[in-house]
Symmetry: D2
Subunit: 349 residues, 4 copies
């Protein structure tokens, strides 16, 4: 029998659907409840025909109180501003909660309200929430009731930069993150911006100097550096379904060379299953992580400019969302951390 | 412990790689040997970086005799004309063989030699080989030593047509199969024909009235109809990585209507896990089967012309190749037929 | 000075925009008025930034009466059901009209109202309207006041079939048209059906046995055959921006062979600039017509089945819409038929 | 009659073919000779079927001496290292030469030989060759016999940075260029790197800190800055046929704000037809320049970091290659600079 009973709130968005896919394939988890505001009372497999013969769930309403009494963990995949209303202390007494949205990621309520331009409805839970970047906060996650699952750009950026920031190898005023995302990151909502003909055969930057993942990246890297970090982050929309590639630039501190950098990556991530450090001359490509929970990290030193170029790639819906959520669940319930996630990506896909 | 020891011969082509991915994720199978002519002695994960941290296999040479003594089943994913040389009665005494290529699919050596324009080197094994279309030949597969895994276009076409041909609902002189395939069906070899800029944003037909999957489709449908069937098959190269959609046309016999057709599909496939019959007004799309072992089948009657339009969709690398090979292995070893294959496809992917 | 003053009604849809592009590049035409319901009073180049530095037109309202007094020709690119209200005899006394929509294509008002499920508001103009398939109705077009520009699937299908239907080389009960279109054919309106992630890496059929271009194809081929033709037409949505490929199947009459078929194509199209007949063994691909007004036609005889396989390819926005509209304008105004259209397609694009 | 006789050496690569397309559509140029090493003696339209009915040229050998006596200008589109052998003073006495390759772009022979790892065979011509970036070197181009047409990444990078570098608004040690290119930039040669399934649905960086366009960018920006500039340039392969987007980062000098930056862009490019400066809040996308000779430039100030983010987009085969070559021809022959290039891009395409 599968031991962990789960519910997915907002199962028909791309992150919710991917999470559902992973949970159905998980050796220890059962899917008890799927909810959807838009498609309530419809069969999940009528919305995602890929689930025919796999799931016979009917989509229900978001009644978290009731659901929290029936399951061991609730995954929340809702637009920001809603989770902070729906997740309460009462619910957390009934079950664990993993929030895939933004509402509990920023520790500072004011920063949240400024960047998201909305009120935060559960400020008291902010201090309890654990930032669910497993490789960085593993021990806290194990004991958490509420985990704030990181954003996709954020996971890529923080993991790629963490060792060199933590160890002070780079000039922290010089960090530039140029990130390229597949279109699924924009969600399943319809707009001209995701119309096939407007997106295909096109690349563009968007939300330049203003994307909401910026403060999340800065918060975690500032913790790592033990000083405030401000950086430039530019997201791009790339004509592909999935994947994020972050190309990150920073000036190296004096006397730091390739080997020094390599050693700190090995120090922090050498034993991590889901972080794959690439050998010299090899660099991440999104195709190698598609459908898997891995993040690939490589780097090069541009010696002519004394600049470090770091590249990180992951699947925005897996390690950047649903896969990391499952990894968090595994930690929270004392399962093997890789349970349900220990497979190669799909290529070509 | 995983109970079935496996080897993949030709692991670096797309079908071989996909098979390797499925076998690593299989609950009962272990991957003991991977071979490659082009990349012998290299790490498999250096060719497919998606396997970093998953596989530490080094690619070996194709020494089937030796390999056959160490494993329970050998999967052969080689170009046609090679398997019929390499697979021998001696090997079949050591282990079972599932051939993903064309060499043992056609029962008539002359038909093979005419369409493939090459000699067949093991004609004696042709009668022993079982055509590995699981839903049609399940019982024979269970006892087979040598299974000829069907082609991708073939699986789509035969399964989509089988019930109506078997039950005589259509005019067998009127069958037209218009099939659209993703580019991975062309393999990993380089040529101008698979150059990104020549393939992207383009659709074309190829091998019109001359594709080698034609006699394979005709052979199986003729068995079903108990009379010779000749049909027109047109493959198309579609700008996507994976997936086959076959749109099939045939004149209905008098007095055959939608409900009659529906009933025969239910008769033959109503209990099949991997065949998903779509409800009226719903039609297959390749995205719903991507990465999974399902084939989706739907149909409509064009009443103005008394013509049946059947649509079948599958993932050419899974149900059209590697997944069906695993399904065959499951049958041959008495495992649950769905073992390692009972999950939803990946979407978007 | 450019001699023909033009207006484009509905300039911000894909067909309207493509037409505007072609008119700006036309040696004899000037763009006087662009209209848009959705973007009225905005600069055209704010909607299509490709027109920065090329056009400084501001989008206006659809006041056809007024516009008709200022220009020589009005192009109407509106959804069906609207043009038949807006185009009146009074307007036709002021200027010529080329309608890119469906309202004046079908000669039989009842057929129109049945397939389009709407009233026709100008039935009196139906007899006057000339079906603007230039290669078939050239002489009538020259003298027309009102031209109904054919649909994209229609142009591909009719031109590909016309010679063999007209000359009675095929069994007219056996015609099947399997057509694959790029996504721009679905227009610029937003919906889940054109969301990038739902369309990319996917192929599907739609409107099976019910697409509205069917009666238009049948009307013109019935005229050619001098008898009623009913056929099966299946459109498919293909993951690419532009292009239509139609694969057409029909049984050959007895004693008709490759050479006979070839001769009738040469008879009808051998001197046509925009129809390119491919040599034996060469088949159309959409990439070769992209951005150009050409239709490429090739064929093969499947001798095993005595079936003719015809392939036709064009750019749905050029020969399938805007380019053919310009070709019609050229004919109506006595310009060189190829003016503004005599260039190669863009590849890769 | 068309007045300028042209030849294209290497007409079957993507740049050569695009150039041929533009020349056929040019109002003043005639295409007299097309050459190809790989396809010599074949019809050009057999290699590029898009040219059927447009061109009946047969591909010839690269005999530049002979060709130079028959034409007014030779365009050379060959791999680096070949042009410097083939282009001689004698040829330049017969006709003008525009080289689309790299051989005459770098003024310093040693820099060339180091980055390209090959000997330069015409060092004497290096001083005569004019760097064909029209907006920067217009006057010299007008009188040049030999023009070195800039690279695609180079044109994007230099034009995007020129005003702020020239006017000293940025810290020149802080420049990072993160460039994303479509696959046609890799040329038409076959390799696993351009296999559809390896490129589609994938983004990757390549030649990190080592791409050969780097010294070309640095050379021109150093001229502009009147001091040596060293910068980090990272190219990326993006899953689309055409287009380059460069996202450029640099620290602003003290007291430089948005308006200051804007004013220098207007100063240098406000009157340039092919440079389109975007308004505040608007940013370049490759789709808006596809098939056209425009470069779109926009920028934003990241005030939190005092960093300038500049974005430049062009079509790598037009303004990044063939279109700029035509623009150079127009200048060299006293034609209107925009002749044959004054049209909007194609969208969607």
């Amino acid at each position: 029998m599968k031991s962990i009973k789960t519910a997915v709130i907002g199962a028909t968005g791309y992150a919710g659907e991917e999470l559902t896919r992973l949970l159905y394939a998980h050796p220890e988890a059962s899917v008890e409840v799927l909810t959807s505001k838009s498609y309530c009372n419809e069969a999940f497999s009528d919305i995602y025909a890929s689930f025919n013969h796999v799931s016979c769930q009917v989509l229900r309403e978001d009644e978290l109180d009731e659901i929290s009494k029936k399951v061991d963990v609730i995954f929340v995949a809702l637009p920001h501003g809603i989770a902070s209303k729906k997740i309460t202390s009462e619910i957390l007494e009934n079950c664990k909660v993993i929030d895939l949205g933004a509402d509990f990621r920023l520790k500072d309520k004011d920063v949240y309200e400024k960047w998201y331009n909305t009120e935060h409805f559960s400020p008291k839970l902010l201090s309890e929430a654990v930032y669910g970047l497993c490789e960085i906060h593993r021990d806290e996650i194990k004991n958490a009731r509420l985990v704030a699952n990181p954003g996709c750009y954020t996971t890529t950026s923080i993991l790629s930069l963490y060792p060199v920031v933590r160890e002070g190898l780079i000039d922290i005023d010089s960090i530039v993150i140029d990130a390229k995302s597949g279109v699924s990151g924009a969600g399943r909502g319809v707009s001209l911006g995701v119309h096939y003909c407007e997106t295909n055969e096109n690349i563009k930057a968007y939300k330049i100097a203003s994307h909401r993942h910026t403060p999340e990246i800065e918060q975690e890297l500032s913790f790592a550096a033990k000083q405030d970090i401000t950086l430039t982050f530019t997201p791009h929309l790339t004509p592909m379904n999935r994947g994020i590639l972050a190309t990150i630039y920073a000036k190296l501190k004096p006397d730091v060379d390739y080997e020094t950098v390599k050693s700190v990556y090995i120090k922090y991530f050498g034993d991590e299953y889901f972080v794959r450090l690439l050998n010299k001359g090899h660099f991440p490509e999104t195709k190698w992580v598609k459908g898997s929970n891995f993040i690939d990290i490589g780097f090069e030193v541009d010696e002519r400019c004394n600049r470090l170029v770091i590249l990180g790639a992951l699947d925005n819906l897996v390690k950047g969302a649903a896969g990391q959520a499952v990894q968090n669940m595994n930690l929270m319930f004392g399962l093997k951390e890789t349970a349900g996630l220990d497979y190669a990506g799909i290529m070509p896909a």
